[in-house]
C-alpha cells in the first residue's frame, strides 16, 4: 500500500503558487488524518509568510481485489480515449470523463459512437448512474459541484492528449 501523501499548497502575495509534500503511514485513519492535517498546517504556517491555500490528502487504494489485465493490448494508445458525457438533473449540468486506451470494439460498428448497450459499457454506466454499495452505504459518482450523476447521456471515441 502506498504511504499517504499530504500536499500543502501555498500562494504568495504575487499570486505565485507552490507546494510541499510529505508522507504518513497508510494505516492512519481518515478521522485521525483530518485532525493531523490541521495540526501540521499550523506547524508549517509558523515557517512561511505565504498563505496556505489548501491541503490535498492522497490515499493509496488497494486494487488487488480487482481482476485486471497484466499486459496492455497490442494497439492500446493513451491518445485514444472513450469520452462519456454525464448529466445531473438537480442543476442540469453536464460533466465528462475520459478513459484512455479506449477499445473501439465497444463502439457501434463503423462508428466512433460508443455502444451504451454493450454489456461491458452497461456495467460502467450502472456504476456511474447508481454507484456501488458496501455495508448498506452506496457510494455514488458526483460532478464538480458535488451533485449526483443521474444519467450517462452519450459516449464517443476521441483522439487527443487531454
Amino acid at each position: 500500500m502506498l504511504a499517504t501523501a499530504l500536499v500543502f499548497h501555498f500562494r504568495d502575495a504575487k499570486g505565485k503558487e507552490s507546494t510541499t509534500k510529505f508522507h504518513v503511514r497508510s494505516t492512519v485513519s481518515v478521522t485521525d488524518l483530518v485532525d493531523y492535517v490541521q495540526a501540521a498546517a499550523e506547524v508549517i504556517q509558523g515557517l512561511t509568510t505565504a498563505e496556505i491555500t489548501g491541503v490535498t490528502v492522497s490515499l493509496g487504494l488497494d486494487l488487488s481485489g480487482a481482476s485486471l489485465k497484466a499486459v496492455a493490448t497490442t494497439f492500446s494508445d493513451w491518445f485514444n480515449k472513450g469520452l462519456f458525457t454525464l448529466y445531473e438533473s438537480t442543476l442540469g449540468l453536464f460533466s465528462k470523463i475520459f478513459l484512455p486506451t479506449w477499445d473501439e470494439a465497444h463502439n457501434h460498428a463503423n462508428s466512433d459512437q460508443i455502444d451504451l448497450a454493450d454489456a461491458n459499457v452497461a456495467t460502467l454506466v450502472t456504476i456511474l448512474e447508481d454507484g456501488v454499495t458496501l455495508s448498506a452505504l452506496t457510494t455514488r459518482v458526483v460532478n464538480f459541484d458535488g451533485e449526483f450523476i443521474d444519467e450517462v447521456r452519450s459516449g464517443r471515441e476521441i483522439f487527443r492528449e487531454s
Binding site: Q45, G46, G54, L61, L68, D77, D103, F148
Partner: protein
C-alpha cells in the same frame, strides 16, 4: 466535498496517463470498494493496464488563523530540509516563502533554537499525537523519519503550478 479517485493507465508502449472520477465523500472502505468495482469495469473497456489508484481528498485547514500572504512573501525563497528515514533513505522537503526571521544570517541555516523551527523538526522526526494516536512522518516505504542532515535557506524558481484542492 467530493473524493477524487485517480487511476493510472499504461498503454502498450509504456506511456502512462490517468483517468479520474469523483465520488461522494464516504468512509475509506466504501471508496476502496468503489475503486475496485470501477477498475474492473474500465479494465474491460480499455486496452491499457490499470496500474493503480489513489483517492484524493481535501484536508480541512479552516482552523488556521491569520492565514494571509505577507507583502514580502515569495514562494521562490524556500527552506530546504533533508530528512533521513530509519533505513537511511533521504527525504527532501521544501517550505515555500520561508520566514527570513528564522534564518541564521551567518550560516544560512534555519535557527534551530527558534520555536517554529523546533516545532516543525519535532513534527517530522517525532510525530504529532492526535486522538491519542501518535502519527509519524515517514518516507515512501513507510519508514519513520528520524533525523535531519540540514535545514537551510535556498532560492529557486518554482514557477506557477496548478493543483488547487
Amino acid at each position: 466535498m467530493a473524493t477524487e479517485i485517480v487511476f493510472t493507465i499504461r498503454d502498450q508502449r509504456g506511456k502512462k496517463t490517468t483517468t479520474s472520477v469523483k465520488v461522494v465523500e464516504h468512509p475509506r472502505a466504501n471508496v476502496q470498494n468503489f475503486a475496485v468495482a470501477y477498475a474492473d469495469a474500465i479494465d474491460n473497456l480499455i486496452g491499457g493496464v490499470v496500474e493503480g489508484a489513489v483517492a484524493l481528498m481535501a484536508g480541512d485547514i479552516s482552523g488556521l488563523v491569520s492565514n494571509v500572504a505577507l507583502a514580502s512573501s515569495d514562494v521562490e525563497e524556500i527552506g530546504s530540509a533533508q530528512f533521513v528515514a530509519a533505513t537511511g533513505r533521504k527525504v527532501l522537503m521544501n517550505i515555500p516563502s520561508l520566514k527570513e526571521s528564522l534564518v541564521d544570517n551567518a550560516t544560512g541555516n534555519l535557527d534551530e533554537t527558534e520555536a517554529e523551527v523546533i516545532a516543525f523538526l519535532s513534527m517530522m522526526e517525532d510525530g504529532i499525537t492526535v486522538n491519542s494516536n501518535l502519527i509519524r512522518a515517514v518516507d515512501v516505504a513507510e519508514e519513520n523519519i528520524v533525523s535531519h542532515r540540514y535545514f537551510r535557506e535556498r532560492s529557486r524558481s518554482s514557477g506557477a503550478r496548478r493543483g488547487n484542492v
